[in-house]
């Protein structure tokens, strides 16, 4: 089980203490207050992990009910009113309470200070505040969803949401605003920490890609989220006081709503995927035992995805009534944003070339990410192509596209990172066979669920349909069957990861033999992360070249 290869990794001088059951951040204090009032980034990461897991399964339950309903053309189990509330619930919870926070608040919070060689983030109390804001927001929105639910879709288009909706739009909006403030605080903390708390010798070009990705995602957190917050305030004002900012019947402009909404929500999807790409950029080198191909390109691609991502939002509105000129401009920028993502894919593959590839669970998840993200990204090109989008917009093709990226990509990356850093976080190894099995089940279940949806969309089946014409049934049944398999795949890690907390083998400091400062401290780390501040003298991913390996073994 142990993968201690014992390479001298990145020339770091630090006090690495072997496992001898010493005090660590989990055992240091165990009262409830020490958890709920903690300012230790590692504990806050755990608090967040528990919260987003809860939201993930809540959003997943909604999806399960939706897919069961779609087994028959007339709706198998729920009436349209309920179905509409289910998909709104699924979208709202998954976007704002799972995907947007996901990797940054869990793996980011835990690993970023360790990777920086720091003792905590720049503003630990603000970190704790962000968790409380998140929980308050989650409570408010969940209350809105349970008190009769919302039937507007997660996109809240007006005038449907301001004038015709049934349900607690304002309450849900408030919860989302709170979650938004939480993510602004998190992003701010990461940016400042990466600027100010890097260990001595760690220049920007010696930072692991995970940090570049978290930094880029944080820029989006900080600059895009306030626009959403203001939009939801204006929407609430309109709904509550019945005035016409966005409702044309009262003199407003519905397209203004869409522009402001997508100005945030498109960059938001880059918030979701950039950290996932960062995780994959850590795992591929580690499990190929080879330095990352084209490090500087990958680093700057993360930044350019964040920047270009701010200039593509109108591609959600190609048939909404925008001018042909705008549509053309935004189609061009949408093609542009695909380029850095594709460069990353090629660089990951380049990393594997001539590497020494190991197939532990994190690597299987990461390979799955590359496969599924590539499919998702390519179909994004279809949607960026104007005339093609006219046919595919608001159909199941779009649903398949973004699920390939968000679920096939992002969630796989989250699981990859979770398994990769599990030994560090918990001090235990997960059971490897179950890890690989779950990764494969998730991959195949995912393909079965979402690949048929590309075809459904091309054939014209619209999204957000509770019932559908009978000729779409076969593809829907395939998709729902896949969803069942996928559900099993997601429940497995819940089971074996929790099991490993009690019965898993004790993990060494560096089970994978990976580079990175986080592996230079104990598993689990002590409260202060490092006994002495590490000093960095080499770049990241300083794995030995094949020539060096050959020399050593002869």
């Amino acid at each position: 089980m142990s993968h201690a290869l014992g390479f001298a990794t990145s020339g770091i001088k630090a006090a690495g203490i072997r496992n001898a059951e010493p005090d660590n951040y989990l055992t240091h204090e165990t009262s409830l207050a020490s958890w709920l009032l903690t300012t230790d980034h590692k504990r806050i990461a755990i608090l967040y992990a528990i919260s987003i897991t809860f939201f993930f399964f809540m959003g997943g339950a909604a999806a399960a009910l939706m897919r069961i309903n779609l087994l028959t053309p007339d709706g198998a189990i729920v009436a349209p009113e309920t179905y509409n509330r289910l998909f709104t619930w699924h979208g709202v919870v998954m976007v704002w309470f799972f995907l947007v926070p996901s990797i940054p608040v869990t793996l980011g919070n835990f690993i970023v200070p360790l990777m920086l060689g720091a003792r905590d983030l720049a503003f630990p109390k603000i970190n704790l505040m962000s968790w409380y804001l998140f929980m308050i927001g989650g409570t408010l929105t969940t209350a809105a969803l349970f008190w009769g639910g919302l039937d507007t879709g997660w996109t809240f288009y007006t005038p449907l949401s301001s004038t015709y909706a049934k349900g607690h739009v304002v309450l849900a909006a408030f919860g989302i605003i709170m979650a938004g403030f939480s993510s602004i605080a998190t992003g701010l903390n990461f940016i400042i920490s990466i600027h100010r708390l890097r260990a001595p010798g760690m220049t920007f070009y010696r930072m692991p890609i995970f940090l570049w990705s978290i930094y880029s995602a944080s820029v989006i957190y900080v600059l895009a989220t306030p626009v959403l917050a203001m939009l939801l305030i204006l929407l609430s004002f309109e709904t509550f006081f019945r005035v016409g900012i966005f409702d044309p019947a009262l003199g407003g402009d519905p397209l203004l709503f869409q522009h402001l909404f997508w100005f945030y929500s498109h960059p938001a999807v880059y918030i979701m995927i950039l950290p996932g790409m960062g995780v994959v950029s850590e795992i591929i080198p580690a499990f190929s035992r080879k330095q990352l191909f084209g490090y500087k390109f990958v680093a700057w691609c993360s930044v350019s995805i964040a920047v270009i991502g701010f200039f593509v939002w109108t591609h959600h509105m190609f048939v909404a009534g925008v001018s042909v000129f705008s549509a053309i401009v935004f189609s061009l920028t949408s093609f542009a944003v695909a380029v850095p993502s594709a460069i990353k894919v090629f660089n990951w593959i380049g990393t594997m070339h001539k590497g020494y590839i190991h197939f532990d669970a994190p690597m299987i998840y990461a390979l799955g990410f590359i496969a599924l993200f590539t499919i998702g990204g390519l179909t994004g090109l279809w949607l960026a192509t104007l005339a093609a989008d006219v046919h595919l917009h608001d159909t199941y093709f779009v649903i398949a596209h973004f699920h390939f990226i968000m679920v096939g990509g992002m969630v796989s990356a989250y699981f990859a990172g979770l398994h990769y850093w599990w030994p560090k976080i918990t001090g235990r190894m997960y059971p490897e066979m179950w890890g690989r099995l779950a990764a494969l089940i998730i991959f195949f279940g995912f393909m079965l669920t979402f690949a048929p949806q590309f075809m459904l969309g091309y054939y014209g089946m619209p999204r957000r349909y509770a019932t559908y014409p009978p000729e779409f049934q076969v593809l829907n049944v395939l998709s729902s069957a896949g969803a069942g398999v996928l559900a099993v795949g997601y429940l497995l890690p819940l089971g074996y990861l929790v099991w490993s907390l009690f019965r898993g083998a004790r993990a060494p400091d560096n089970p994978w033999g990976a580079t990175g400062l986080e592996w230079q401290t104990r598993s689990p780390p002590p409260v202060e992360n490092f006994a002495t501040t590490p000093v960095v003298t080499k770049g990241p991913y300083a794995y030995p070249t094949p020539a060096a390996v050959a020399a050593r073994t002869t």
Binding site: P113, A118, R119, D120, L121, A122, F123, P124, I184, L188, I191, I192, H195, R196, L197, V222, L223, A224, T225, P226, V227, A229, M230, L231, I233, L234, F237, E238, F241, R242, V243, G244, I245, L250, G251, G252, D253, L256, L260, F263, E528
Partner: protein
């Protein structure tokens, strides 16, 4: 205790100080986008409803608005002086400056409250009971929607600012700051100046545009 507490993740006080200032600047950048989205929507609607906005703007109280502008600019100047004083280790003057700043801030809010009372008496509340009617009432109502959202949000930010200044006063009186360490004073100063700058954009938008002619 006149030495600042060095938090464990920092090397020295200067490191901690720079980091805190960076954090506040970044927070303010985010606030620019927050209010910026509002201003964008406001200006866009002005383009579509010029007559309504013109009519609505006549209902604002230029006198109170101008008094408030003077109060706020003065408070920023006073606070800046306070920062200057603590750099010279003059705690007494810093206390005086903070007190004056807070009082000016409270006066601002007081006048604001008076103004809101007046606006409500004129039925400038958007919705069914809006006080203006006729062809441009829709546009006028939109002006007032933005007026309320902007001034309430600004007022909330002011209240937070006054709270921060009060907290600073408490800390100065306990001797927490000196020429060597007074970063929280500077951080709050950045925030206060920002709230001032937002007002400097709101003032012409609310009171000046559309008034001539």
């Amino acid at each position: 205790m006149s030495e600042a507490q060095l938090h464990f993740q920092y090397e020295d006080l200067e490191h901690q100080s720079d980091t805190a200032l960076d954090g506040m600047w970044l927070f303010l950048a985010q606030e620019v986008l927050f209010f910026g989205a509002l201003f964008f929507a406001w200006m866009l609607n002005r383009h579509f409803h010029p007559l309504g906005y013109h009519r609505a703007a006549q209902q604002t109280d230029l006198l109170i608005g101008s008094i408030n502008t003077v109060l706020l600019i003065t408070s920023s100047a006073v606070y800046a002086a306070g920062v200057g004083f603590i750099r010279l280790d003059d705690r007494r003057r810093l206390v005086q400056c903070c007190v004056i700043t807070a009082l000016l801030g409270l006066a601002f809010l007081g006048f604001k409250g008076l103004e809101w009372h007046e606006d409500l008496a004129k039925h400038m509340n958007p919705g069914r009971y809006f006080g203006l009617s006729g062809a441009d009432a829709g546009g006028a109502q939109l002006f007032w929607v933005f007026y309320w959202v902007a001034t309430v949000l600004h007022g909330v930010h002011m209240a937070v600012g006054i709270g921060l200044v009060a907290w600073l006063l408490h800390r100065v009186c306990k001797g927490a700051y000196s020429a060597a360490w007074h970063t929280p004073v500077e951080v709050v100063g950045l925030y206060w100046s920002f709230v001032d700058v937002v007002w400097l954009v709101l003032y012409p938008l609310i009171y000046l545009v559309g008034r001539a002619g």
